[in-house]
Symmetry: C2
Subunit: 336 residues, 2 copies
DNA sequence: ATTGATCTCCAAAACGTTTTGGTTGACTCT
DNA sequence: AGAGTCAACCAAAACGTTTTGGAGATCAAT
C-alpha cells in the first residue's frame, strides 16, 4: 500500500537505502537489509510500476497483435500458447498485452501506437503474411520482436515455425505411396506464409510424382472454409481420393462435405495442427503437428534473447512436423 | 520520437503550453494550438505512456487472469471474446494484459501482484468459481472488476452471465416432452459456477418430472472429460436415451463415446456454447447459446461503467439462453 | 597522527508528463 | 485613471522510482 517515502520514513532511513536494500545491493548492511525487507512485506509494499518504468525507461510490457477477424487469429488452442508464453515472460518481469486490431485499422497502425508511444519493449507477431508490413516496420524501428511463422522479408528476423513445406510434401508422398493418384489440397489464404508454404509442399510432391496440380481449392482457415473448398473439389469430374488440408479446422469442415456428398468418408484426409478435437471427429482425424515442447515457452524465450540483443540469425527455429496418425488417412485409394 | 521538452523548445513555447495545446485546453489560442498540433504530428510525437501513467496515477491497463490449466481457461472461441473486449477497452484508452497463472501459484497471488503493484486500474475475471477468492480479494480492495460468470459471493458484484439454470432446465424438459425418461447429465467440475448451475437446471427439471437424478457423471470441461463421463453413463444398467452436456466440447467427446459403444448415435444429445465446430460434427451438434450480441463488447462496457463508479447492482447482466437446433437432439426416446 | 580503504548510508537529480497557481498585458467599464 | 475582466502563456511542483556521486564513520597500516 505504502510507497518508498513512507516506508523509509517509518524505518528512519533514506529512500535511497530502502530502495537499494530491497534490490539487494551490497552497499547496505545485512542487518539493515533484513530489517527493510521485513518492513516491506509487513507493509505489503510493492514498487509502483509506472514510476519504475519511467525511471528505467522500460515499459516491462510486450504486445501481441491480434487480427480481430474471427478465425484469422489462429487455431483454437492458440490462447493456450499465448498463456504459456505470457507465463514465461512474466517470470522475466514482462507482461503480455493484447493488441487487437479493430476493423478498418491496419495492423501497422496498432504496432506504431504501441511502439512509438513506448508502451512496449518488444512485440510478438502471429499469423504472419508472406509480405508482412508489421515486420518491415519493426525492423525499421529496431524494436525486438519474434514472429510465429516466417515471412518473405529479405532481412532476417527471429521466428519460430513448423516446416510446413516438408510436412505437406511428406503427407502427399505418403498418399502417393499408398496408391493414391488424385490427391487434392485444401489451401488456406495464400497471403499467409503458413498457408502458402503448405500448398507449395503439396505441389512439390505432386510434381515429383508427375501428377497434375489441379485439385486445389482455397478457403478461409475455418471449418466453413474447408467445407466449401471440399465441396468444390468434389464437384470436379475426376474426384480426389485423398485430401491434404491446410488446417485441422478446414479438415473437419471437409469431413462434413465428404459425409454429405459421399454418404460416408470414402476419401482419405489429413489435417494440420493436432487440435484436441481431432481425436473426437468421425472418423478420428489424422493430422500433423510441429515437434517440440511447449511452443509458448519457446516463443517467450526467443523474445527474451532478442531483447538481450542476440542476432536474428541465431533466433530462427524451424521445427520438423510429425504425423499424428489416427484414422482418417487410411481410406483405400480407389474409393472415390 | 521526441518528448515534450524538445517539442516545446523547437516551438519556442513552454512545456505547459504545448501539453495543454495537445490536450485541447481553451487557455491556449487557436492559432498556437494548430501550430503545436502540426509540429507534433510532424515530429511523430507520442506522449510517453509511463510518464503519463505516473502523473495521472492510472495504469491505463486492465488484466484478465487466465488459469494455465489447458481447457480450464474457457471454450475455444474465448480468445475472440477477449479480443473483442480488448478492442473496446482500447477505444477508452485501456489496454488488456493477460495475467497467466503459473502452476503452483494461486490466482489470488496473481491478482495481488497486479493490483497492489498498481499495474492495473481494473480486472476481468473469467471462469468464476462458486466461491471465488479473487472476487473476495478485489472487493476488499475496492478495485473495479467484472466477472464473466456469477459467483456465490454475498456482496453483489458486476457480472455478465448466461442463464444456465433456465437453459438446462428447458433442454431437459424438452427431452421429457419428446418422450425421454432416462435423461442423463454430463457435468463439468462443480466448483465452477457455470457447471454447477447447469447441473442444477437439469436436476430441477428432472425433479419436476418426477424422474430420478442418478444419471449424472462429472468430468473435465473438455472432449476427453465428456468422453469419459459418457462412457460411465453408458455402463449403467439402465442407459440414458438423452444426454444434456455442460459444454459443447464435452458433448463432442460424448458423441465419440456413443459412436464407440452404440455403433452410431442412437442417443439424443445437446451441448452448450455453440462452438462453430458443432455444425461440423456427426451428427451436427444441437446446442445452446447465451443471447446477446458481441459478448466481448458488453464485457468491456460493463467494466468501463464499473470504473466510472456505477454501483454493482446496475452492472449485472443475466442473459437468456437460446437453443441452436441442429440434429443431435432428435433421436427417438426408445433407441437405447 | 596521518593516510588510505572499506563500509554504510544519503541528498539530489533524473525519467516525461499533467496540473496548480500564478503573471503579463490588453481591453472594458465606470 | 483606476478597477476589473479576460486571453494567453508559463514556472514549478508533483507523481514514485532508480541511480549518481558523494559524505561520514571506522579501521588498519604507516
Amino acid at each position: 500500500m505504502a510507497n518508498l517515502k513512507q516506508l523509509a520514513h517509518s524505518l528512519g532511513l533514506s529512500i535511497t537505502t530502502v530502495s537499494r536494500a530491497l534490490d539487494g545491493y551490497s552497499d547496505v548492511s545485512a542487518a539493515t537489509r533484513a530489517r527493510v525487507r521485513e518492513a516491506a512485506v509487513a507493509a505489503g509494499y510493492r514498487p509502483n510500476a509506472s514510476a519504475r518504468r519511467l525511471r528505467k525507461q522500460r515499459a516491462e510490457l510486450v504486445a501481441v497483435t491480434l487480427p480481430s477477424d474471427p478465425g484469422h487469429v489462429g487455431p483454437p488452442h492458440f490462447l493456450d500458447m499465448l498463456s504459456g508464453c505470457a507465463e514465461h515472460l512474466a517470470a522475466a518481469g514482462l507482461n503480455l498485452v493484447i493488441a487487437p486490431v479493430p476493423r478498418g485499422v491496419s495492423e501497422l497502425e496498432i504496432c506504431q501506437r504501441f511502439v512509438d508511444g513506448r508502451r512496449v519493449d518488444a512485440m510478438l507477431l502471429v499469423r504472419t503474411k508472406r509480405k508482412d508490413e508489421r515486420v518491415e516496420y519493426l525492423q525499421s524501428r529496431g524494436i525486438p520482436f519474434v514472429t510465429n511463422g516466417r515471412t518473405e522479408s529479405l532481412i532476417p528476423h527471429p521466428f519460430i515455425d513448423g516446416d510446413g513445406f516438408a510436412g505437406f510434401r511428406a503427407a502427399t508422398l505418403r498418399f502417393h505411396a499408398a496408391g493414391h493418384r488424385r490427391i487434392g489440397h485444401i489451401a488456406g489464404p495464400q497471403e499467409y506464409y503458413f498457408a502458402h508454404v503448405r500448398r507449395r509442399g503439396w505441389q512439390a510432391a505432386m510434381e515429383e510424382c508427375g501428377l497434375a496440380i489441379d485439385l486445389c481449392a482455397e478457403g478461409a482457415p475455418l471449418e466453413q472454409g474447408g467445407y466449401l473448398a471440399a465441396l468444390e473439389l468434389l464437384r470436379q469430374p475426376s474426384r480426389p481420393t485423398a485430401l491434404v488440408c491446410a488446417t485441422d479446422e478446414m479438415a473437419i469442415g471437409a469431413l462434413r462435405a465428404l459425409r454429405e456428398v459421399d454418404g460416408g468418408s470414402q476419401i482419405s484426409i489429413v489435417g494440420h495442427d493436432d487440435l484436441p478435437m481431432g481425436a473426437f471427429t468421425s472418423p478420428p482425424l489424422s493430422t500433423m503437428r510441429m515437434t517440440g515442447e511447449n511452443l509458448g515457452a519457446t516463443f517467450a524465450s526467443l523474445l527474451l534473447r532478442a531483447i538481450a540483443g542476440e542476432p536474428a540469425e541465431d533466433l530462427q527455429e524451424l521445427h520438423a512436423v510429425e504425423f499424428v496418425d489416427r484414422d482418417s488417412h487410411r481410406r483405400p485409394p480407389l474409393a472415390a
